[in-house]
């Protein structure tokens, strides 16, 4: 514990003791170990390959992350399982859904028709977010992957009472790519770099 922290603690205890001595009827103020964080920040990973990058539309309480692939590669879809800690954060929604398509893949013949089936899902299971988008038509060409493929969001969880600077775990535990070459009839496992998520 730092000196600053010890001083703060001492002051807090003194304040508490003073209140008790006054026999005040009001309830004791909540003790803060440190200043509660008011939001979250995200720092992009250093990787130039598969990565999650912060979208400019992010706010201090709603971080939007874009999945971006490496340059020079084409593909037909990818699914992720993103792991965090739902006691410290919440999976957010973009326009009401857990996943927002980036438009890189051709998911439908008529993009405006809500009836056409699309291989696009986003869901939450505990601390895991599962998102995926795939082109269904094998006759369509594979698409360049070094662009925003799709997005998802992380929300600040106020009642978690995170300490400022506290790191919130974030990792991509599974990433499966439908590659350009369908000949092998196989999905490929890839590694997606996640940046640093912190309380602020």
């Amino acid at each position: 514990m730092t000196t600053q922290t010890m001083l703060r603690t001492a002051l807090s205890v003194t304040a508490l003791a003073a209140l008790l001595a006054c026999g005040g009827s009001s309830s004791s103020p909540k003790v803060s170990a440190a200043s509660d964080a008011k939001g979250i920040t995200y720092a992009n990973p250093a990787s130039a390959g598969w990565r999650l990058e912060r979208d400019p539309s992010s706010t201090p309480t709603h971080i939007v992350l874009n999945l971006i692939g490496p340059a020079g590669l084409k593909g037909r879809g990818i699914a992720l399982t993103v792991h965090s800690d739902n006691s410290k954060m919440a999976w957010g929604r973009i326009s009401g859904a857990y996943i927002q398509d980036g438009g890189a893949f051709e998911l439908a013949m008529d993009p405006t028709d809500p009836n056409e089936a699309r291989l696009l899902v986003g869901g939450v299971k505990g601390s895991d977010l599962m998102v995926g988008a795939f082109q269904k038509d094998p006759n369509l060409s594979a698409k360049p992957l070094d662009t925003k493929l799709y997005s998802f969001a992380i929300d600040f969880k106020a009642d978690a009472h995170l300490a400022t600077g506290e790191t919130i775990p974030l990792s991509v535990t599974k990433a499966r790519l439908l590659p350009e070459d369908l000949g092998p009839r196989k999905l490929q496992d890839v590694t997606v770099a996640a940046g640093t998520l912190k309380a602020n």
Partner: protein, 771 residues
């Protein structure tokens, strides 16, 4: 069918006061008095409507609700029946209809209605415009040939609830399967109890698409297709086979058109009183399509191909032989080609006369509107159909297995679809579709009995006809009739009795129990033999064709509405028998017994039997109350046992709630009603439950199962979309190492990964993880 208690008490009071009227059936006014009542029909209708308006509050309707008259009819008893639709802020409320009945003196009788109480929609302006909706419909329909905008109507519907897949029963294997030619349905975006929707009716009739009529309900604020159903009202194709043409040497009403056409034509001007709405011709015409596709609605304007007239120089038609089709030469206008047209023309006149002489109805619509009967539709067309939009009939020539579809009971059947469209207008889906089909079988059969007697005296005899449909079409290669009315299950597809869930099947098979009901009503039920009823095994006497037909006709013309069920039909038939013969009459008792014999309601003087009702109680969907496919119970996922449907059952009319679950093929039913699906990408599992108090009582539902773990890694996640993407548009691929679902050996249908599978998967995934 709901009837406010207040009005029923009025009628009851009349009975208690010793009203002889109801005890003996309704009395017919003298002709002059009846004419006077009919001449005041318009004023009576206005009075009836005003009376109904004054009772809106009592019916749970408000200032935004109004009524629109659909039709008015005064019957032989001087009663006027005003069919009305409920409108909310000017929009029709789907299925919300009523019938105001006025007695001969103009006094209101108990109301028949299915009005919707407390309708509420946020706005009557849809978020998605009609042009966009039609584009979505066209995307789904994917016509290959000519397409012009179909008919569209903005309506208010009760929220149909969650999505249901397109499920059909394969007529060959009798197994339930997914129909990959149809898109799946969607859950509406809104959760409001009523929503705006577009009702779209499409009709494709061209060389590339064939003949396809499809109706849609599309959520007006999202464009999502909620429901879709085939609306072509046909005879069911069956196994075909052999010989002779149908009515012998008959007299036909024709028109001398020597000056214009060089001969006589098959145009009957003696019967209709109004011209055809599209051709403008006055008279029932029988025309020639030359074994071509009529290519309806070609070009920018729209076009009804009414066919070419049949012309004969000496007014002598046909050669009595079945049509011999030659793909290289058009023989449709030869003497041999005239034979099918002559049968169709004769059948049209016979059916018209039946309705007029027996039931007092002027033609198909009751107004005497001219019709068109088009013979020689397409090559090798094993069907016939009625089309309300064009007020026409179309007949195929069959081929090797079945003969020309112009035999008398088939003609009567098809024209009776027109009668249905202008009376109850039962929707062609679920129980309603089965009742619609049965109506055509019943009245087509009565046309046959009446016509064969040849007396024209307005009384249907009990001899001269038969209780099979389309038996004259048979050949040695297909010797059976299309259907048996006394023992419907004899065709291997139809049902002999009603059960909850019957509406899931094709209307031609759901019709079985009601056909049998009519047979019992007319001929009685035997105490032994194939036609014996398991529900009334001791049998009972019938009342004959004439009385049975009058009761039936009054039921559809006076008491049924577009969403009427089997049980509504029983209520309507009892009321009709009461009207005609009196409340305590043997005819009413016969109606009760006839319906009881097909497991609808109690037999006369008997307590009601137990009834088994499955209610889905699943974290997925509750589909128990849908107006369409009411027996589809919900989704299940293999492995996710806690989320699998747990079906609750209620057994009515008995304290014994014990049931026995039927084990669905491939799936498992726990004793508590918990269903577990096997591990396969998708499947349909019939679930049955039988009452232990009465083993004759059962209910059936279908469970649709989705295996979300498509890559078989024991984890359900978004990566499972990958194998679906790999397999899309193809059959199972045994070389796909990313998934072992192709290795499941217990499949019983071809698995072709399509948009339907994607939709099933993503909706199931959303249900598990997206909320």
């Amino acid at each position: 069918m709901a009837r406010p208690t207040l009005f029923r008490l009025s009628a009851l009071s009349a009975l208690l006061a010793g009203g002889a009227l109801q005890a003996q059936g309704l009395q017919r006014p003298a002709p002059a008095a009846l004419y006077e009542i009919q001449s005041r029909q318009q004023a009576r209708a206005a009075a009836g409507l005003a009376w109904l308006d004054g009772r809106k509050a009592m019916l749970g309707l408000g200032g935004d609700d109004s009524f629109r008259v659909r039709s008015v009819r005064t019957d032989e008893f001087g009663e006027t029946h005003i069919r009305v639709e409920q409108h909310f802020r000017g929009l029709r409320v789907w299925g919300a209809e009523g019938i105001v009945h006025l007695d001969a003196k103009g006094n209101p009788l108990p109301l028949t209605h299915r009005f919707q109480r407390q309708v509420a929609v946020a706005s009557t302006t849809p978020a998605v415009d009609e042009t966009t909706v039609l584009r979505f419909v066209k995307n789904d329909l994917r016509p290959k040939g000519d397409w012009l905008p179909p008919t569209v109507e903005l309506v208010v519907i009760n929220n149909p609830g969650p999505a249901m897949p397109a499920v059909v029963r394969d007529p060959g294997t009798r197994k339930w399967r997914l129909d990959y030619s149809r898109a799946a349905f969607h859950a509406p975006m809104s959760t409001d109890p009523q929503i705006l929707a577009y009702h779209v009716h499409t009709a494709l009739e061209n060389d590339k698409d064939g003949i396809r009529h499809t109706d849609y309900l599309v959520e007006a604020d999202s464009g999502l297709i909620l429901r879709k159903w085939d609306s072509l009202e046909t005879d069911a194709p069956a196994k075909g086979t052999a010989e002779t043409q149908y009515n012998g040497v008959v007299s036909l009403d024709t028109t001398d058109s020597t000056a214009t056409l060089g001969g006589f034509q098959l145009l009957d001007q003696t019967r209709p009183t109004l011209p055809h709405p599209l051709t403008g011709v006055l008279g029932n015409a029988t025309t020639n399509l030359h074994n071509q596709n009529p290519n309806r609605f070609i070009g920018p304007i729209g076009f009804f191909n009414a066919g070419d007239p049949f012309v004969d120089a000496d007014n002598a038609w046909g050669d009595g032989l079945n049509f011999t089709f030659d793909p290289n030469v058009d023989l449709s206008a030869t003497d041999n080609g005239q034979t099918a047209a002559a049968d169709a023309h004769f059948g049209m006149a016979a059916t018209w006369d039946f309705y007029g002489q027996v039931l007092g109805r002027n033609g198909i619509d009751g107004l005497g509107t001219s019709t068109v009967s088009r013979a020689h539709m397409l090559p090798y067309f094993y069907n016939a159909f009625w089309d309300t939009d064009t007020f026409s009939m179309s007949y195929g020539d069959g081929g090797h297995y079945l003969k020309s579809f112009t035999c008398l009971d088939v003609v009567g059947h098809e024209l009776s679809h027109g009668v249905m469209a202008t009376t109850a207008d039962l929707v062609y889906a679920d129980e309603m579709g089965g009742l619609n089909e049965s109506n055509s079988d019943i009245l087509g059969t009565m046309v046959e009995f009446y016509t064969r007697a040849g007396k024209g005296d307005g009384v249907i005899p009990d001899t001269g006809g038969n209780w099979t449909m389309g038996e004259q079409l048979s050949t040695p290669f297909s010797p059976d009739p299309l259907r048996w009315m006394d023992t419907p299950s004899r065709d291997g597809m139809s049902y002999d009795a009603w059960f909850q869930g019957i509406g899931l099947d094709d209307p031609h098979f759901v019709s079985g129990p009601n056909n049998r009901m009519f047979y019992y009503l007319s001929q009685g039920a035997p105490a032994a033999g194939p036609a014996q009823s398991a529900y009334v095994p001791g049998g009972f006497p019938g009342i004959g064709n004439d009385k049975a037909a009058r009761i039936w006709y009054r039921t559809i013309a006076t008491y049924l509405t577009s969403l009427s069920s089997y049980h509504d039909t029983r209520d309507g038939a009892i009321q009709s028998a009461t009207d005609l013969y009196g409340a305590a009459s043997p005819e009413v008792a016969a109606v009760e017994n006839a319906f009881a014999a097909i497991n609808v309601g109690a037999a006369h003087g008997q307590a009601p039997r137990p009834e088994v009702h499955i209610d889905a109680n699943s974290p997925w969907f509750n589909l128990a109350n849908g107006p369409f496919m009411p027996g589809l119970l919900g989704f299940a996922t293999s492995g996710e046992t806690s989320a699998n449907p747990l079906f609750q059952v209620q057994v009515l009319n008995t304290a014994n709630q014990a049931v026995t679950w039927g084990a669905p093929a491939g799936g498992q039913m726990g004793a508590d009603g918990r269903f577990t699906a096997p591990k396969r990408i998708g499947g349909i599992y019939p679930v049955t439950v039988t009452s232990q108090a009465d083993p004759l009582e059962h209910s059936m539902g279908l469970v649709f199962s989705v295996d979300l773990d498509a890559d078989d890694d024991t984890v359900v996640d978004a990566a499972d979309l990958g194998p679906i993407a790999l397999a899309y548009g193809s059959y199972l691929d045994t070389s796909n190492p990313n998934s072992t679902f192709n290795q499941k050996a217990d499949i019983d249908f071809d698995l072709f990964i399509s948009d339907f599978d994607i939709l099933a998967f993503t909706e199931a995934f959303d249900k598990l993880y997206a909320h």
